[in-house]
Symmetry: C2
Subunit: 286 residues, 2 copies
């Protein structure tokens, strides 16, 4: 049982975590630190948080666990501001979609309190944002990745692991570097592709003329292009190196497909398509 | 009421059309022409067709309406084989995902019977294939695009339009050229991108290691990569020119995003992402 949880940022993820822990009786009191007055009011009225704070020192006071649930661009500044107010054994974690950049910022700002900072990333979300999008089931049947640091106090890792279990998630531990490489492939690059495609279609023709002929495949493919642009700008910038490496690789593969198409090489196309189908079917229908 | 419908190819689309028309009482008898013995047996046992034929002349005999529902690569050969057996006022239509190539093949093979060939394309489907994937609701709330030819007998167009209405679809008419350009954007290019991404990820790491960290966004984005490789090879080849033009455009846009990322230009990224989100939200949430 967490006596007092402090959530920094009460949007979709922070809000859903608070709701999930409340529902399972794993937390007594949730304090929300949130700059947006509309988010604060909404989070209070929806019962996501018990108290809203605009002063960070006040929000952190007496918290057992602190969760940074702000866009990646806000992490470094928060670490800097919170550092003087962290008490021994006050466990800190985050929900950032990129881990390397968050770890670098935490190491730079938290000093010896790094022992109680456990990096995390719930693999869950929707294309919606804000406290009104939060729901307590968001993490059920989903993975939460923790990338514990060599400096971490084992008890801190255990506290964060237990918190996510109680929110309904499955917890796995991998390194920050591996996390960032894998997520570039299964999340960051797909978002970029979806954003670029939808933007291209909107440029080529009137979207209402073109999209009326789209079927379910396109609706699903493009769903992630409705994601928050600021959040995704931050993610791309924060995971720049792994994402660029994969993007280069993707561009080369796409060029290969274009050349096969240009030369009418149906065998090459079918080979690539069949390999992709096999890989996907193996995972999703196994 | 269609007294006798002949479906050439009893897979997902041909099978679903037969089921939809039977359910609405719009057809008395459905004859299936199908080369795959497993498909034939399945279509018969599921009540999709009333009679299976392996001889094309026999399948066409006495049919009021003939629907070509085979992969695009099989269309030209079928037009050639069926031409001698077409009777006056026997209405022929197809369900091909590309219209220009089908129209060219039909004009080359059907002679004066082109007056009764009405090109069509239902904007519906799933990533599954075969008669066991067919269901009578497939076309409900979906559009069917007809691209009537200047040569068409008005009664033929009306027969095909009525058939699709009775299958539950909304019928729209546009030109073949416009169809192929629009579908390259909302269907063909997205499929290529999904295939290429999944294939790339399977090459970079073990799919089971990588995909376990994928969330709902990736599952939805990549669903179309589970589509039939042969069908999609045919579609890409048949719509080569519009697809290549758009692919070139996409590659240039993706390169722009890569450069913005390389130079840390968050403003450029956010601008593209926000424009895409606005275009998609306008269509899907309007």
């Amino acid at each position: 049982m967490i006596q007092r949880l402090c959530v920094l940022g009460v949007g979709l993820i922070g809000g859903s975590l608070a709701l999930a822990l409340k529902r399972s009786g794993a937390v007594s009191e949730v304090i929300g630190y949130e700059k947006d007055p509309l988010y604060r009011a909404k989070a209070l009225s929806l019962g996501i948080i018990d108290r809203a704070e605009v002063c960070l020192a006040e929000a952190l006071r007496g918290a057992e666990v602190v969760v940074l649930a702000v866009p990646l661009g806000g992490m470094e500044g928060l670490f800097q501001q919170m550092a003087p107010h962290l008490k021994p054994e006050m466990v800190v974690t985050d929900v950032g979609s990129v881990k390397g950049s968050v770890v670098t910022a935490a190491r730079a700002e938290l000093g010896t309190r790094i022992v109680d900072f456990v990096p995390g990333h719930p693999i869950a979300g929707t294309e919606k944002s804000g406290p009104e999008a939060a729901f307590s089931d968001l993490f059920c049947l989903h993975k939460v990745i923790l990338t514990p640091l060599p400096e971490n106090r084992p008890g801190a890792v255990e506290t964060v692991r237990r918190m996510w279990h109680q929110a309904g998630a499955e917890v796995v531990e991998i390194s920050s570097a591996y996390h960032d490489q894998v997520l570039a492939g299964v999340s960051h690059l797909p978002h970029v592709l979806a954003f670029v495609l939808v933007d291209l279609l909107a440029k080529v023709g009137e979207p209402q003329d073109t999209l009326q002929f789209a079927a379910g495949g396109f609706r699903d493919f493009s769903r992630i292009a409705s994601s928050d642009p600021t959040v995704w700008r931050d993610i791309c910038l924060a995971n720049r190196e792994p994402l660029l490496a994969l993007l280069d690789h993707f561009e080369a593969e796409l060029h290969t497909v274009g050349e096969a198409l240009r030369h009418g090489d149906g065998g090459k196309l079918a080979e690539i398509f069949a390999r992709a189908k096999a890989a996907r079917d193996t995972h999703y229908n196994a």
